[in-house]
């Protein structure tokens, strides 16, 4: 496959790993955040951590769209799923995320018609096949998946469909990054930028990171060599005392992004005044809802939902873990009240969250560091 195999070459990986080793200052500790859940996945899948020097630490950021959905929104989704006649559709990994009293999988076990789909277009197909039922799509994701939801809604409107609805939980990546950077106790040296989000929004929206906060950001692809090269580019910036937005993923990401995608999004969505993030609290202008023009497709307008805010458990310190202030094992509930089987906080929900990863792999990682 073009543009894939050449970015998984183990030989080149080792060479990059050596270059990284020579780019770090001995005795200095580097914390680099990969913003996007897709990068976290690559890092685990290929064991990229293992190819980095022990003083380069990758911190998993807030970019897993599933983990950031707060409990109250899951509860609202379940309330809609339980309405008579509703077919509730969503991506597979959302099914397992706990609300205040169970997951969508639990709702399914109790009789709700919850179906997994692979794209919003699949949900639209379900709606066409079931004209006498309301089909609700629980939309999640950053700017990578938002265009897909937007196109689907545009098509639904063009076809004059009245039984397809969307419960919109789309979020945007820049506001949470700014919130992280605003925090006085932040301990990060640079960012691996979210390549797929950037294909849509471009690299420009990230310029504030070096300009206002003095940290480098490198827009990165998702193959293992992409990630290693991006780490090297960040370390070089730090070593040379520079900071700017650089693009490692030029084969896909234009600086300006995808203007057509942005146009469709602007037509279908509008910013919410604020949106709650699990672990990070309310962040202003960080979530999307359907615009007035698409109000008829808004599941939250057709169905009344509890809309109750469920506070993150007090003991949960996901916010601090995300900022790199504490390590997972320093959280009060880690490994006792909060485990991968029964997660409390966002970092334990997905297998790629920082805490779940440490829970499963921590011992191995420590062995590497103490060799």
């Amino acid at each position: 496959m073009r543009y894939v195999d050449e970015y998984r070459d183990a030989e080149l990986g080792r060479a990059l790993s050596h270059e990284i080793l020579s780019a770090v200052e001995p005795g200095r500790h580097y914390k680099v955040m990969e913003v996007c859940g897709g990068h976290t996945h690559s890092i685990y899948k290929y064991g990229i951590d293992d190819l980095l020097p022990e003083n380069v630490e990758l911190v998993h950021g807030p970019g897993c769209p599933v983990c950031v959905i707060p409990m109250g929104r899951v509860d609202d989704g379940i309330a809609i799923a339980k309405q008579p006649g509703v077919i509730f559709t969503c991506f597979g990994d959302m099914l397992r995320v706990p609300g205040s009293s169970g997951t969508l999988l639990d709702a399914k076990a109790q009789g709700a018609d919850v179906r997994m789909v692979y794209s919003p277009l699949d949900a639209l197909r379900v709606a066409r096949e079931n004209p006498d039922r309301d089909v609700v799509f629980f939309a999640i994701g950053f700017e990578t998946t938002a265009p897909s939801t937007a196109l689907t809604l545009r098509r639904a409107r063009a076809e004059g469909m009245t039984n397809f609805l969307c419960m919109c939980n789309h979020v945007t990546i820049v506001p949470p990054l700014r919130a992280l950077l605003e925090s006085p106790d932040l301990r990060l040296d640079g960012f691996i930028g979210p390549g797929h989000v950037c294909t849509v929004v471009g690299a420009r929206p990230f310029e504030f990171i070096p300009v206002d906060y003095g940290k480098p950001l490198v827009v990165s692809g998702f193959e293992p060599l992409d990630v290693l090269q991006s780490v090297l580019m960040i370390l070089r910036q730090i070593g040379e005392g520079r900071c700017s937005v650089e693009n490692q993923y030029t084969r896909v990401v234009p600086y300006e992004g995808n203007l057509r995608a942005l146009e469709v999004m602007a037509e279908v969505f509008e910013l919410r005044p604020h949106f709650e993030w699990r672990g990070l609290g309310f962040i202003s202008q960080s979530g999307l809802r359907l615009s007035e023009a698409y109000a008829d497709f808004d599941a939250e307008r057709r169905y009344s939902v509890p809309g109750v805010r469920v506070a993150d458990p007090k003991a949960c310190q996901c916010g601090e873990v995300l900022k790199g202030v504490i390590k997972p094992y320093e959280c009060k509930v880690f490994g006792t009240a909060c485990t991968p089987e029964r997660p409390i906080g966002t970092c334990m929900v997905s297998s790629e969250g920082a805490c779940a990863a440490y829970y499963n792999y921590g011992r191995i990682t420590r062995e590497r560091e103490t060799v």
Binding site: M1, G141, S148, N258
Partner: protein, 55 residues
């Protein structure tokens, strides 16, 4: 995925890493040619992959 065939309705047949073939919505891209590689998310192509090499 590699573009195999472009339909009039914006749907393209594309082939992925393991020779699997899928219908992909391409309305968000400009001019598209058979043989190009596109990045697909949730059945929607969001970018054309170019041969540009990283700096």
């Amino acid at each position: 995925m590699d573009v195999l065939e472009i339909g009039a309705d914006g749907l393209a047949r594309c082939r992925g890493e393991g020779d699997e073939v899928r219908e992909v919505e391409t309305a968000l891209l400009g001019e598209l040619r058979v043989g190009q590689t596109v990045l697909v998310h949730a059945d929607v192509a969001i970018a054309v992959v170019s041969t540009a090499v990283a700096s």
